[in-house]
Symmetry: C2
Subunit: 524 residues, 2 copies
């Protein structure tokens, strides 16, 4: 299998010669019907308002074959050490189910290992929810608080917020989940001021067991737990860990139990491992988490399709590369028309920008082409009343990734002015897609909308655990494919190291570095 | 007073000839000390790591004079109809206090009008907090819920989150505030499922009284209130309005009382009017809100300084123009090192992108230069574990706006490994500024940090109401100055209209528009 220089690809040369398809003049019923594809049994990816036509798609297919993308994905699934810089396999898809060969590493079958952890999560979460595991003063747990940062926070938090309403509507018992992430001590203070320690279980999440923010926050929480002065209260009965087997946390006496991940699950890809699984299963029930896994697994299987038109995440990746490298557009907005997805854009921001915001290729060599874009976004219709002005009439083109659902989660709705709120929500979504694509002429330049502001739409019947799993995996696989196309290692994050080193230096007195010293004095 | 074409300015020509100052090679103690200025009594704006030196600043001064910026600001303060497209004054600064002449419009003294509303807010909020105004079943209000969208949501929500911890630390009684914004019916369901209607007061915010989302959500809430089956319960005693005097809401029998704004307060600039004032005064106390106003007023006065080096918001605006129009950088990240500012970037996103995301000048003519950038951001240190990888090592340069404070709000902290959490937080902030500016060489290209990734730092002792007010006004005035420089109308939002028109069309059956019809069918 060959890893080719992106800028030398024959297919890229062809792509560079293709003008953007003029959506504004050519959008019609037929195109909208044809330019869509399924991702698994729940998601629909519609790209009729993207600047591509059959010619582009033909070259996308050539690019996929020239860069051998599907075989690279298969190699990843089969446990090849795709994360070369850190000499690691990349196995987050395996947390959702096995697709190809057994992966044997560190003398164990990794699929079995993840399955065994999943089974432990099922057992533990059921016991917590049933009251068979209780706090040190024999009270049932009513709150679960995750302490973690980055991938141990954004994904699990986004998924929890996305599914809470659904679980409530399904009449599940909810154990309220909260999250502590920032080393800012106000983050801990704000969360713990409202909770009853006797009925709270903390989940400490750090793969290495050495993350500065997480360990500091654990100590802050322990300090509060120890000083709560309740007879018989034992802090260590109120804390569990999600970590690697070899981490100091794994055998710490400060925790009641530990659930394991390994080095083959990157933080930003860890939502479907124990990192997301423990808190989601405790708060919303193991079944909810398991359905999420099944949706992700479907999307992982869909990503094996050789034909780009039948492979939604690959096609999305290809269109993104065309927007980025040919049209040189620097950003993408993610716009879910569902309030439950309020933090999903923040998760995608990490997923995409940390994976592909790189200036070297997978061999550590400098590159001469653009890589990952800026990702940002807020739910619609809120965003319409905020930054959409610039999206419609600003001087830059910003491609848009819409997400929408036919039904709401609670399905509590009323008719006002002849339509329900859900109908209004989707009428707005429909209107925006068409407004961005077609625009509007007017004699008054201030009322002119240029059109050809590109978007795609991922839609599904309802935001369920299964749909959400597919949505998550769609984006993970899109990012993976773009990494393969650009010949990057999407699974390391060397760019976060320098800040860590300098922060230590500051805490040790700046060692005579006058710049560090001057700035630290501004903050003293 | 002359409104000049930006692209024809002599000073712009000079600016275009100035190379970016090489921060990487020239950062030192002296520069860090000199390249900072105060904004009012609380804020410090440091720009030593921006690519400018004395030469640039000299041209900034020329640009300010050539485009007559301070006089334009004075004209705005004096009530000139700066919002030409809508033929309106722009008076949000007046909600914080009068600076120049009386503004007389619509046969009233506008300063007196805003003051009288403020006084009504003081009176009403004190009565709610004292229990002199209670719910229809004679219970004290414990929760206040704002129903509003865009400017009636993002600013007030961001400010509430920013000040809640401070108010708690000051031992103030807190009336819990919640927000409903999205027309997605799940937004209402999620908020109202947890509240006790008998002790909840809703604040309905819509200047026109016709905002689709807000009126629909009001009806959804009313529907729930009416069906709560509590003896003696009267929904209209649980709802107040913030609106314009002429709106249908002002005299609605559905509300207990109404507080007024007018057409001269744009939504995104309305946080310091009754739009933010009612909910902040009820939830955190009128004094808290009044201190916020005093901080904003100081920054408004500071913005009158003719010397750009003594005018932090003007200088920030100028540097932003250099980054945008000369260096052609498409975005700016806002990175507050305070968890309490978690939604402040989302507010700035609206403020900046809706104000200056324009393709016509203030006369409605097409323009040939870049305007407002993309604004996005998340709190540090969280962001460090997310998208900072791309900021450090991605292929684009993204200017950074850091915000930091010497002290936390709760001031509950412990020492772990010889430093407090607050010290760790600020060590990280210091480290990031220097890492972005100076970078790091290495034989391994994957460990190379290019440096010259530009940032500025706004810092203060603590995130207090006064500091927050100054911070808010700093950015409002920055955006205003950039609008003046680019010769835009920063106070209209014509770009949101087309979507509204098309959404109505969809709700009326698409009127044979096959594109709207096809997309709406995807969502049915």
């Amino acid at each position: 299998m060959e890893y080719k220089n992106f800028s030398q690809l024959k297919s890229l040369k062809k792509l560079n010669e293709l003008k953007p398809f003029d959506v504004k003049s050519n959008l019609n019923k037929k195109r909208i019907k044809e330019y869509q594809t399924k991702n698994g049994s729940t998601l629909n990816y519609s790209y009729a308002t993207m600047p591509v036509n059959e010619e582009h798609i033909k070259v996308f297919q050539e690019l996929s074959e020239e860069q051998d993308l599907i075989n690279k994905y298969k190699a990843l699934l089969n446990g090849e050490r795709i994360n070369t810089g850190e000499d690691r396999c990349v196995l987050h898809q395996l947390t959702r189910g096995q697709i190809l060969d057994d992966v044997i590493s560190d003398n164990e079958n990794k699929g079995e290992f993840y399955k065994s952890q999943l089974s432990r999560i099922e057992d533990f979460s059921n016991k917590v929810r049933n009251g068979n595991i209780v706090g040190s003063t024999n009270k049932k747990f009513k709150t679960v608080v995750q302490i973690g940062i980055g991938g141990s926070d954004l994904g699990p938090r986004a998924l929890y917020l996305a599914l809470k309403g659904y679980a409530i509507a399904q009449k599940k018992d909810i154990i309220d989940a909260k999250f502590i992430s920032n080393v800012d001590p106000d983050d801990v203070s704000d969360v713990i001021k409202d909770i009853d320690f006797e009925t709270t279980l903390f989940v400490l999440v750090s793969k290495s067991g050495t993350t500065q923010e997480t360990l500091t926050n654990k100590d802050l929480v322990f300090d509060a737990l120890k000083s709560c002065n309740i007879e018989g209260f034992d802090p260590s009965k109120h804390m569990i860990a999600v970590t690697s087997k070899t981490s100091p946390l794994a055998s710490s006496k400060e925790v009641l139990d530990a659930f394991f991940i390994d080095d083959y699950i990157g933080g930003r890809y860890s939502s479907t491992s124990a990192v997301g699984g423990v808190i989601l299963s405790i708060s919303l029930g193991f079944e909810t988490f398991n359905e999420l896994l099944s949706g992700a697994h479907e999307a992982d299987i869909n990503a094996l399709n050789e034909n780009v038109c039948d492979n939604a995440s690959l096609l999305d990746a290809m269109i993104g590369v065309y927007l980025r490298n040919v049209l040189e557009l620097p950003s993408t907005a993610v716009l879910p028309y569902s309030q439950a997805l309020s933090r999903f854009p923040a998760h995608l921001q990490q997923l995409d920008m940390e994976s592909n915001g790189k200036h070297v290729n997978r061999f550590g060599e400098n590159i001469d082409y653009l890589t990952g874009p800026i990702i940002f976004g807020e739910p619609g219709t809120n965003g319409q009343h905020s930054f959409y002005q610039l999206l419609h009439q600003g001087t830059d083109t910003i491609p848009l990734q819409f997400i929408g659902f036919k039904k709401s989660q609670y399905e509590k709705d009323i008719t006002v002015d002849n339509s329900t709120s859900q109908e209004k929500l989707n009428a707005n979504l429909t209107a925006q897609i068409v407004a961005f694509a077609i625009g509007k002429n007017d004699d008054n330049p201030n009322k002119v909308f240029e059109g050809n502001r590109y978007s795609s739409l991922i839609s599904a019947d309802q935001l369920t655990p299964k749909t959400l799993g597919a949505l998550l995996a769609h984006f993970e696989n899109k990012v993976m494919f773009q990494g393969f196309i650009w010949n990057l290692n999407s699974f390391d994050q060397e760019g976060v190291q320098l800040g860590k080193i300098l922060a230590k230096k500051v805490l040790n007195g700046c060692e005579g570095d006058e710049n560090l010293l001057s700035y630290s004095e501004l903050l003293k």
